[in-house]
């Protein structure tokens, strides 16, 4: 029982990390068709933001709370620059964006090595996040609980933004039919920029969150990028609700597989499940119904 709860929570918390990593990607890849291989490096930038903030504010609790908006800004601005300098020249050319953003990812990794050094740096977790609470005898780590809460909060914020604000309506209009939106007076240029800012900013927040569980190193992003793409593709491109279901389903499945086999075999089984699933449902859990001609 104790172990069952522990494992269920491990699955949920893994799902919440996947969701955080994939949420921004679901926006930039799903809605804009840009394969952003630098998304993981935007996470890394968020993680190093947490480190820098902690140098300035030594109280780990306060620095974590400041890091979250700061990470959002840093990730967002990096995304904005990437969009303005490179990506806006290659919408509708997803393979080109893959190559270009892969190059940007390498540049950002090297920049991190030059600025912060190759060894990983230590971002301390605040005292109130150390330890765990007991749920029917199973230890529930507070850091993982915090990340679960944070990812749900980001999700709620994003959904609210897309569904209930004029900006959200414009973004959705551009996704559904870019030309018609343009003709209707929506500035697709501005909408692209904002979408990219928010998507990349979410990567920054994800980066701040994962400093609580792992190492903060130049390679941080490479650990998450593949899983994040898996979530977005399995969930259905451009579908936030698909990404949510896919993230938690993959998290729980992975923890079940990993528990009953080993970490490496678990990873293989997950990939097999996804391949089989995409054979049956190539469009993912949900698919976007658009009125555009493409």
């Amino acid at each position: 029982m104790e172990l069952l709860i522990g494992q269920m929570f491990a699955g949920l918390s893994l799902g919440s990390v996947l969701l955080l990593a994939a949420l921004g990607l679901s926006l930039t890849f799903g809605q804009m068709g840009v394969i952003n291989m630098a998304h993981g490096e935007f996470m890394m930038a968020g993680a190093y933001t947490a480190f820098v903030v902690q140098q300035a504010i030594s109280d780990a609790g306060a620095s974590l709370l400041v890091s979250i908006p700061a990470g959002f800004l840093v990730g967002g601005v990096l995304g904005l620059v990437l969009e303005a300098v490179l990506l806006r020249r290659m919408y509708h050319r997803p393979l080109d964006t893959l190559l270009v953003t892969f190059g940007v990812a390498l540049i950002l990794q090297q920049a991190a090595r030059d600025i912060f050094g190759a060894p990983s740096v230590d971002v301390r977790a605040p005292a109130w996040l150390q330890g765990n609470i007991e749920l029917l005898g199973a230890p529930i780590p507070l850091t993982r609980l915090f990340i679960l809460g944070l990812s749900l909060l980001c999700l709620a914020g994003l959904v609210l933004l897309l569904k209930a604000t004029p900006l959200g309506r414009r973004i959705r209009a551009v996704v559904l039919n870019r030309d018609l939106a343009e003709t209707s007076g929506v500035s697709t240029r501005r909408s692209d920029q904002l979408t990219f800012f928010i998507g990349s900013g979410l990567a920054g927040i994800a980066g701040v969150a994962v400093t609580l569980i792992g190492s903060t190193s130049p390679y941080l992003g490479t650990n998450y990028i593949v899983d994040a793409f898996l979530v977005v593709v399995a969930g259905g491109i451009g579908q936030i609700k698909g990404a949510v279901i896919a993230a938690f389903a993959l998290g729980v499945l992975q923890s079940v597989f990993e528990y009953s086999t080993t970490a490496s075999i678990g990873k293989v089984l997950i990939l097999i499940v996804i391949v089989v699933f995409l054979q049956l449902r190539p469009q993912g859990i949900f698919s976007l119904i658009t009125r555009s001609l493409a």
Partner: protein
């Protein structure tokens, strides 16, 4: 701060590399006579006629391994500087030619070939990963040249062209198990990265445990670089083992120790013995997360020997007070002095003569007196169990009463009979 060191090392390096390509070409054409003067070894082109002698350093100064291997480069440079200041080897100053293995085994093999054939170095020092060593081995054997390899490894190897100055399994893993058994450990959980070294190490641990009545309650591997340990720490916690034997590599340690602590496991409730966390790695893992945990090495910066005090002081004077020394760095430093002692005993730089003279050569190293075993080209070392203290340094909590003879094939252990096959 590390960045500046690497950069500082890199610039002269790039210049040296270019210069040596030019010089190398020149010398091969210009002095066949001096090549002939190096006596018996037909293929060697080592020039012993001048006032200096060339040696090669080969380490990853770029790529993922640079973080670790640049520290070995630093301590090798210190040893070369000290040897030159005290009059060199057989009266000749050391001229160091450094090559970047770039964290790629094939690059190591190619650059090692260049150091031997083109630069005509008398011996080569460096290498870290087992894959880089395995890649270089045939190059050194084919050219009958010498490599000094400074890192603890999984054993089961012996070449007359390689001197192994890091620990082999019976100088690190087995003493760590002996220590745990002595402390009353009846059950163990094994956690490692999924590649050669942890799997080989765990095979040895399984055989040891079977012979000594220690129960292995679980054996889990995480993919290299993995940061997700929820399930593994749940399994570890549920096993209620007496201790954990950790062969994780690199950054996975950070994630593992953080998540280990977050499910309520501590050094008191379930100690972890690690074989790949040294002084260098502690800040990155976070002192909070590993303080009080155990390590198994042969050298710690805190060792109270005159040779070590001198080594640490010299290292900090050269590279900065905030730098620390570690086991592989010490083994690399020692390797250059061992070669010097071998050459002086042989009274020649000739590889055959140095090999013949190697057996029994000693050096008063920072870790204590080490002796070369000519049968397997490993050295005697003193295994030590350490505990990570509040400063991030490692205190010795147990030390072997005497230096341990190297036994790379575990031939002297009955329970290991099946492993060496």
């Amino acid at each position: 701060m590390r960045v500046t060191v690497t950069k500082r090392a890199f610039l002269p390096l790039a210049a040296a590399a270019m210069a040596t390509v030019l010089a190398g070409c020149g010398s091969q054409i210009a002095d066949p006579a001096s090549a002939g003067s190096t006596a018996s070894s037909g293929t060697s082109c080592v020039n012993t006629s001048g006032s200096s002698i060339k040696v090669g350093f080969i380490n990853s100064l770029s790529g993922t391994m640079a973080i670790s291997e640049s520290t070995v480069f630093d301590s090798l440079s210190l040893a070369a500087e000290e040897i030159n200041a005290s009059g060199g080897v057989l009266g000749k100053q050391l001229e160091v030619i450094s090559e970047d293995g770039a964290s790629e085994p094939t690059k190591f093999a190619e650059r090692a070939g260049k150091l031997i054939q083109q630069d005509c170095t008398a011996a080569v020092f460096g290498g870290w990963t087992s894959s880089s060593r395995k890649a270089m081995l045939p190059v050194f054997e084919a050219n009958d040249a010498l490599l000094f390899y400074p890192v603890q490894y999984e054993g089961l190897e012996s070449s007359k062209n390689i001197f192994y100055t890091g620990a082999t399994t019976n100088q690190q893993i087995i003493p760590a198990l002996d220590y745990l058994a002595e402390q009353g450990t009846k059950s163990l959980f094994l956690v490692g990265s999924d590649y050669v070294f942890p799997r080989t190490a765990n095979k040895i641990i399984q055989a040891y445990a079977a012979a000594k009545g220690i129960e292995i309650l679980g054996e889990e591997y995480a993919p290299l670089g993995s940061t997700e340990f929820s399930t593994i720490v749940n399994k570890v916690r549920d096993s209620k083992a007496d201790a954990v034997f950790n062969t994780l590599n690199g950054d996975s340690n950070v994630a593992f120790f953080r998540q280990y602590k977050s499910v309520g496991l501590t050094a008191d409730s379930m100690p972890v013995v690690s074989v790949s966390i040294a002084e260098e790695e502690v800040p990155g893992v976070g002192l909070d997360n590993v303080q009080g945990q155990l390590t198994a090495w042969d050298y710690y910066q805190t060792l109270d020997t005159p040779a070590n005090k001198k080594f640490v002081a010299a290292f900090k004077a050269k590279f900065g007070a905030d730098r620390v020394t570690s086991d592989p760095m010490e083994a690399a430093y020692t390797s250059l002095y061992l070669w010097k002692a071998m050459v002086e005993k042989a009274a020649s730089f000739d590889v055959d003569k140095v090999q013949a003279a190697a057996d029994g050569v000693t050096f008063e190293a920072p870790e204590g007196l080490v002796t070369v075993n000519g049968d397997n080209n490993h050295i005697t070392k003193t295994p030590r169990i350490g505990k990570i203290n509040a400063d991030g340094l490692i205190d010795t909590v147990w030390s072997s009463p005497a230096a341990v003879e190297p036994d790379p094939f575990l031939a002297t252990y009955d329970w290991a009979k099946d492993l060496a096959k």
